[in-house]
Symmetry: D3
């Protein structure tokens, strides 16, 4: 039943996403129990102009 | 005042979205009270490469 | 597959929640398709001191 | 440590976003304490066909 | 119309929250336009056992 | 930089949460890169009366 939302900077490959959801599902089932089919993971790709740290958009950070 | 966030796989038509927000607003007002104008609904279209169930992205599921 | 997050002011009864999730699931399946079992709804009860409109917390609004 | 998610209708300029994250970070540090670097802000641009108020999508509202 | 979600560690006073929502609403209207009444802010108080940075829950960090 | 939100049914122990955030941070850094300190994880414990699947609250499901 657990549902994961992952917010990450855009630019990751589908290969990275495939590996990530496989691994998160595995550790989730191992630690929290339940079946793999009950684990949902939703990824949000964030554009650099939409994420700020320290008051500065990541398009402005070097 | 209630605020609804709907995450759905991309590909639904504007007609489906129009009907959905109309119906959700109606049942919300009926059951929770308040005015229709106080109901906000935000839809997020999720790409198949960004949603995983059972450890597998929906681009990989048949 | 659609997932609904509902944010509402705290104080609604379990009866209201039961009716709301039943109706939202029904209209979701009718309009978007899919099976009822694929619809997940998560409710968040918000305390009045944690919701502001117009710059004022709802504990301060009459 | 505070994390802000801002949902706004699409169409705001990068200049507006720059100013907004600068100001929110400033007031956050002033009022809640902590360092600016600990403040994260994530913006979501919502398409008008994905936001409804009063049961009507904003593409339909004049 | 903008909607803000603020996640912060629990323990802030109502006075801090009052001031924060007042200021965020003010800068939002100044920079993005719209009326104050169209700005909604929802605060989530996170327990220290529910927030981790660097792989460690904040209950474990000194 | 990735931020994870985990929604799970209430009742998990702090030991499970400790292990979960440790493992998610580890696989995140392995697959996406970045430093462990840049990974934030926020857990939301959902009450059974606030989660529905198939139109039925989990308090009603056996």
């Amino acid at each position: 039943m657990p549902t994961y939302h992952v917010e990450m900077m855009e630019g990751r490959t589908v290969e990275q996403k495939k590996k990530l959801v496989e691994e998160i599902t595995r550790v989730s089932v191992e630690i929290l129990g339940g079946s793999p089919e009950s684990v949902n993971i939703l990824i949000t790709d964030i554009k650099r102009e939409n994420w700020a740290t320290g008051g500065t958009l990541w398009t402005e950070r070097s």
